[in-house]
């Protein structure tokens, strides 16, 4: 079953086209990585999926419903984490998780906040101001926030970007376990190709706003004759966009 179905999604900013007629699906239980060089349109795509940016044309369906007409209902089944949108610095982690549990309509918000503090090893930081935490701790908290409503569609924009390798590995494992437990679907962006290879069922490569490849990591390696995803990334980023027939 397709949790997310994107059809001909396009975003123009005046004469600049940030996202150009992209179509893809993410199915239940599937982890799809959205890759591409800087400016490829990944963040714009994610922001359209969160209805922070209106598409110029095209359609986004979540669980078969159009996001444009069912915004609040669908957002309550989704969540996201991004390094440019950390939790407010003037709350404590416990307060932040409680506030967001409430904003996502979670009735047992106190219990949910405590459960996530435990789950993400944040209990000993629970009473400190978020602004006093390290960037890595704030990022961990941001990912914890993404689970307040046990989302069925999770959008993770570089969730481990500011973490050291052991912490990143731990966090990845935790995210994967929680996702498998809830049979949720994930759209994951990262510039860490090892991470992408570890977590992804499928990879979508974006370049200059267009999808240039959409396949499993294994198939992509075979198609490009490379053993290393990073080499494929570099090749795709260099390739000129071919106009569709």
């Amino acid at each position: 079953m397709a949790v997310l179905c994107v059809t001909d999604l396009t975003k123009h900013y005046n004469s600049f086209t940030a996202v150009d007629r992209i179509s893809f699906e993410v199915r239940e239980g599937e982890i799809v990585s959205l890759l591409g060089p800087n400016g490829a349109g990944k963040t714009t795509t994610i922001q359209m999926l969160l209805s922070l940016v209106s598409p110029s044309s095209g359609e986004i369906q979540v669980f078969g419903k159009n996001l444009k007409y069912h915004r609040e209902e669908l957002l309550s089944m989704m969540n996201f984490s991004a390094p440019y949108s950390l939790l407010p610095y003037n709350l404590t982690p416990r307060e932040g998780l409680k506030v967001f549990s409430m904003l996502y309509g979670v009735r047992d918000h106190n219990e949910r906040a405590n459960a996530l503090l435990e789950e993400f090893n944040l209990m000993e930081l629970a009473g400190r101001k978020i602004g006093q935490l390290s960037t890595g701790e704030q990022m961990r908290l941001c990912v914890a926030k993404a689970f307040v409503n046990t989302p069925r569609l999770l959008l993770l924009d570089e969730p481990t970007s500011s973490l050291d390798p052991p912490t990143a590995r731990q966090l990845r494992a935790r995210i994967l376990r929680l996702i498998r437990d809830s049979n949720g679907a994930v759209l994951w962006t990262s510039h860490n190709m090892r991470e992408v290879e570890t977590v992804s069922d499928r990879i979508i490569f974006l370049s200059r706003g267009r999808i240039v490849a959409d396949d499993t990591p294994g198939n992509l390696k075979r198609r490009f004759g490379e053993d290393d995803l990073e080499e494929i990334f570099i090749t795709i980023a260099r390739e000129p966009i071919r106009e569709p027939p």
Binding site: E95, V99, L103
Partner: protein, 266 residues
């Protein structure tokens, strides 16, 4: 309407106000200093023009000051509740949450009501202790003015949010400046008869003019001027509708042009 969404926003703002010294000073400190200033000025005016033929400056000017502070606070607290999300780079989290715009506004209204009641009780008590001004002798007369003042403040708060969404965090100065712009034209400390005729016509469109003119009548004549209350209410309804249309328009522009994400990067 989801009650939890509204309470979540209320809870978030109350934590900040309760914990922050500068915010508490914003709530009680400014009004204390201004009350002292206006109080001494009023006492001096009273000394210059003693006798029963002159108006009671203490009750007229200090009541006007108290209600103007209430208006200023209701607009500011509303705008700052949203600006707090911008300053703490939380605005994307907020707009990506399943919260309706009406729920967001109601959450801010709850914060505004809590602050307004606190500040109003504080300043009226202080005015009684310092200048023996008992505003509560006006009784139920003050209720229509109290409500209209809060609602107009919130309508301007909604406009402030729209401007911040459109022009970014640098528009935060408007959260403090908008009431000041209206002050000379709202007949707060003087009757509208002092305005030139053209200004009397123009200021008719301001609810604040009817509130303060009406309040003066209520104080000096001991009766509610229903016509002023009615005009203030009708104009308030118009301003609230226009403010919401403006905010919806600004949000539409922000989503189309990508301004929301700019709010965390500017």
């Amino acid at each position: 309407m989801n009650r939890l969404h509204i309470l979540g926003l209320f809870y978030r703002n109350i934590i900040l106000i309760r914990r922050s010294g500068p915010k508490l000073f914003g709530l009680f400190g400014f009004v204390t200093v201004a009350l002292l200033l206006w109080g001494f000025l009023t006492l001096w005016l009273q000394d210059l023009a003693p006798g029963e033929a002159v108006p009671d400056f203490i009750i007229l000017i200090l009541s006007a000051f108290i209600f103007w502070s209430l208006f200023d606070l209701s607009q500011r607290s509303f705008g700052i509740s949203f600006l707090e999300e911008v300053w703490s780079r939380n605005v994307i989290n907020l707009f990506a949450a399943p919260v309706k715009l009406s729920e967001m506004v109601l959450g801010f209204v709850m914060v505004g009501v809590a602050q307004a009641f606190l500040a109003f009780f504080y300043v009226t008590t202080l005015a009684f202790l310092l200048y023996a001004l008992n505003i509560w002798t006006l009784g139920f007369y003050i209720i229509p003015f109290f409500v209209n003042i809060l609602v107009f403040g919130w309508a301007l708060g909604v406009v402030t949010i729209g401007l911040v969404v459109r022009f970014g965090p640098s528009a935060d100065i408007l959260a403090f400046f908008i009431p000041f712009l209206l002050l000379p034209f709202s007949a707060v400390y003087y009757p509208i008869s002092v305005y030139p005729p053209v200004l009397q016509t123009i200021t008719f469109a301001l609810p604040t003019r009817h509130m303060f003119e009406g309040m003066r009548t209520a104080i000096s004549e001991g009766m509610i001027p229903w016509q002023e209350v009615l005009w203030a209410t009708v104009l308030n309804v118009v301003f609230v509708v226009l403010a919401f249309l403006f905010l919806y328009w600004m949000l539409h522009l922000a989503r189309t042009r990508g301004y929301l994400s700019r709010l965390v990067h500017d």
